[in-house]
């Protein structure tokens, strides 16, 4: 092995019970470079990172760090050696404060071995200055916004002054501006010799920041792609390595094929303190409407309110000309509104239960469903759904917890189909989902719209919206500020609208919208 590589992993095998997560995988990270790690959910990415940083031990294989064979038995041991991982919020303890968390496990001590809180706080302030100076270090983690939590998580990793840093989906909760700051920080670190591994599903980010990418598939290293020439990136090759085949896209972009009908849903003046502030919009039959905007502008709250989950203070919702009261999801469902929630594990699936159970539950729970379940019919229905959606599962009785992320997300959407909803709400459905599954998902959405169901989708990734939607609404501080027909819009324009939509262009000058 050469000492140009700070980390080398060879012949890594990891078995969890009967499942082979890594199958002789190889990974190299040259010193002072940023390497992207790509792969479908279930390809072994997080297993690999967890092995590298001492969270779990490999069943077989060797790891070389700075040229020497190492075996870390705990995350602490790896950290002490200079290898750190930035988790997606798995290392922040919710009830402790920010400053207590940053040095958790490695608190500076006084001579009598008690914790030196004053020094800790001073160090914490120093590290937070660059990333998020507005955060109150005394606040408990559970009270922070997701974006701030992510930034604290990053600051925490940096406080350890690592030489090798793995960032696992660090940008999922961040705004574009914060991502830019983060990338700037990463480039600074790179110039001081820190090596990094960047794991993400957001292709454009990977292309921007990484020197090359390593792709895992089915627990093996499928290949590497060089990214040093940013004008000449072989995107298709990357996708081919990830999925093992060419990217298949349905005719999702063929918007001309779909007929868009009359207005089926009108929202007027919907308000809910503190996040929704006089929301007004409408949706037509068969239309795919996107919801864009900076994070935290009220998008998730709007979705939940339309689904009947949250109580609104004012305003009304009109479905097919009839005003409806949405005090509970069962009212929404009764009116043909269904929600595919943002956090599929916490909100969308019964992880312990089978594919069959999950697919048929909304059908069984609806008003008027038969008390005794028609088992045979339900099985046939599920079989049909699995087939139509190319759902990969061993059997109908497989617990959904065993499905890959993309397939699980399909279940979350598919379970509403038998109810033939009028309006399908989706709250960031492709978050954390790999490239192929994302494409499948949006194909599905297009198909649903083709069959007459309207779709209202919020996505934090603007590209998704641009590719799929007929119209895009921009949300800002709890209200809809833009209603854009999706003709010739590109990401830059849309982002600018999101950022500056608090201002209205008046004769070329910018003036703030009066509140």
């Amino acid at each position: 092995m050469s000492d140009r590589n700070i980390v080398e992993a060879r012949n890594l095998v990891k078995r969890f019970g009967g499942v082979l997560a890594l199958d002789k995988a190889e990974f190299l990270c040259p010193a002072g470079k940023i390497v992207g790690l790509l792969g479908e959910n279930g390809s072994g990415k997080s297993t690999l990172s967890r092995i590298l940083t001492g969270n779990i031990s490999p069943t077989e294989g060797e790891i070389y760090y700075k040229g020497e064979l190492v075996r870390f038995h705990s995350p602490r041991a790896a950290e002490d050696a200079g290898m750190t991982m930035i988790y997606q919020n798995f290392s922040l303890v919710p009830d402790l404060s920010v400053w207590q968390n940053i040095y958790l496990g490695k608190e500076p001590l006084k001579k009598n071995r008690s914790m030196d809180d004053a020094r800790t706080k001073a160090l914490v302030r120093h590290y937070l200055e660059q990333l998020c100076p507005w955060v109150d270090i005394n606040m408990e983690i559970r009270k922070l916004m997701p974006a701030d939590k992510q930034l604290v998580e990053i600051a925490k990793a940096l406080a350890g002054e690592p030489e090798f840093l793995i960032l696992d989906e660090p940008t999922s909760a961040l705004e574009k501006e914060q991502v830019t700051t983060l990338f700037g920080l990463m480039k600074d670190l790179k110039s001081t010799g820190v090596s990094m591994v960047f794991i993400s599903h957001r292709m454009h980010e990977v292309e921007e920041i990484c020197d090359h990418v390593v792709v895992l598939r089915n627990g093996q290293t499928a290949g590497t792609v060089d990214l040093s020439d940013k004008n000449n990136v072989d995107y298709d090759e990357i996708v081919r390595l990830i999925t093992g085949k060419r990217l298949t896209r349905g005719n999702g972009n063929d918007r001309a094929n779909r007929s868009i009908g009359e207005i089926i849903c009108q929202v007027e003046g919907l308000s809910m303190a503190p996040k929704l502030n006089d929301v007004t919009l409408n949706i037509r039959r068969g239309e795919i409407v996107g919801l864009a905007g900076l994070q935290g502008q009220g998008q998730t709250e709007l979705m939940l309110a339309l689904a009947g989950y949250s109580r609104t203070d004012a305003g009304r919702v009109v479905i097919n000309g009839q005003p409806v009261r949405l005090k509970h999801p069962k009212h929404a469902i009764g009116n043909g509104i269904a929600l595919v929630p943002g956090d599929r594990v916490v909100q969308g699936l019964f992880m312990l239960h089978s594919v069959l159970h999950n697919l048929t539950f909304p059908l069984n729970a609806r008003k008027g469903a038969p008390w005794i379940l028609p088992t045979k019919d339900l099985q046939d229905l599920s079989r049909q759904l699995v087939q139509d959606l190319s759902l990969k599962t061993e059997s109908l009785k497989t617990p959904v917890a065993l499905l890959s992320g993309g397939n699980a997300q399909k279940v979350v959407v598919a379970k509403w189909l038998p109810l033939k909803p009028r309006l399908l709400l989706l709250s960031d459905p492709a978050k954390g989902v790999d490239v192929q599954a994302k494409a499948d998902l949006y194909d599905l959405i297009t198909q649903i719209a083709q069959e007459g169901t309207s779709v209202f989708v919020y996505a934090s990734d603007l590209n998704e919206l641009i590719q799929a939607c007929d119209r895009i609404l921009v949300m800002y501080e709890g209200r809809i500020v833009e209603d854009l027909l999706n003709k010739n819009i590109d990401e830059e324009f849309l982002m600018e609208r999101c950022l500056h939509s608090g201002m209205k262009r008046v004769d070329g000058l910018e003036a703030p919208i009066s509140n």
Partner: protein
């Protein structure tokens, strides 16, 4: 990719994952019988066996309430089942006083009382978000208080109507009726659980209440009713218990409370909810009763019995959790 013949059920490992604990519990029960047969003469005599299974039936019936509550999730547990059963014993004894014409009023009054107490539990748990462990503990205090107020310390005079006694103690073709009752209830319970809308709701609510709400289930109302049912069943169980023991000591139902929880764990009901079957509680009740019976037959000192009981329980539970993590 077309998957024309996708199976409903998968391999053996899936079957085991679903039913392993239940099968194990029955196997352990049989194992205990064999051990008993070796150590204690007459343990396996048909008369003694039936007696033990009959005792298990009583535990098993009250455990049905506990299974339902635990399945409903959200930390679901009902510490008050024992005390409400005691209320059932007391009040039905006093109302009936051995007279058959008073069965119906007794059952209705006792049932109503149990239902009300259960609904109070459910209301404060579901709508006020008080943790079920704490709330039902407090309800135990309240229920005990009711018993003390009513009893005023004196021994209660009252007895069951003959029909209740027959139900509890009678036999059909030499087979205790209550065992048949138990089997019927378990079959009905599992049918409702696996084949009806209500059962699916219960399993879903217990697994993930947010997902259940978003699917249109009124989770708060559902849990309210679950606790109500638990109270109702516990109180009615008390009526049955009266038939079994003839006399009403005020704390007679209390000894069923913790065992009802143990029975659930042995029977594979997940303590966090959403997973398990009533059939499991049957295996669990058999294991528990056989164990107790074995220890009693061995004529140990009371002290040893208690300690050994706890010890064996611990060993069983460790073995169980080992299995589930394989």
């Amino acid at each position: 990719m077309s998957n024309v013949s996708i199976q409903v059920s998968g391999s053996f490992s899936e079957f085991w994952r679903e039913n392993g604990k239940i099968i194990s519990s029955f196997l352990i029960a049989i194992g205990l019988c064999i051990v008993g047969g070796i150590l204690v003469p007459g343990f396996l005599e048909i008369g003694h066996l039936l007696l033990m299974i009959k005792a298990a039936a009583f535990l098993g019936i009250i455990a049905l309430a506990q299974v339902t509550v635990i399945l409903s999730g959200g930390g679901g547990i009902d510490i008050s089942v024992g005390t409400i059963a005691s209320i059932g014993v007391l009040f039905s004894a006093v109302i009936m006083k051995g007279r058959p014409e008073y069965i119906l009023p007794a059952i209705m009054a006792v049932g109503a009382l149990g239902l009300i107490l259960g609904l109070i539990n459910g209301y404060l748990i579901a709508y006020f978000k008080i943790h079920p462990l704490i709330m039902t503990m407090a309800m135990t205090s309240v229920a005990t208080g009711i018993i003390i107020i009513y009893g005023q310390g004196r021994k209660i005079i009252g007895s069951p109507a003959p029909i209740i006694e027959d139900l509890a103690n009678g036999r059909i073709f030499g087979f205790p009726v209550v065992i048949l009752l138990w089997i019927v209830l378990v079959i009905i319970g599992d049918f409702i659980l696996l084949r009806t809308r209500t059962g699916q709701k219960l399993l879903s609510v217990g697994t993930n209440d947010i997902a259940a709400i978003l699917s249109g289930v009124n989770v708060d109302l559902f849990r309210l009713l679950v606790y109500g049912v638990s109270g109702l069943v516990s109180a009615l169980f008390g009526v049955l218990l009266l038939g079994y023991v003839h006399q009403a000591f005020w704390d007679i139902g209390n000894s069923y409370m913790f065992p009802s929880v143990i029975v659930c764990t042995i029977g594979g009901v997940l303590i966090t909810g959403g997973s398990g079957r009533y059939l499991g509680s049957m295996g669990g009740a058999l294991v528990f009763t056989f164990l107790q019976s074995l220890l009693v037959s061995l004529r140990m000192e009371e002290a040893f019995k208690q300690a050994l009981f706890g010890l064996i329980l611990i060993i069983l539970l460790i073995a169980y959790s080992r299995e589930s993590r394989r």
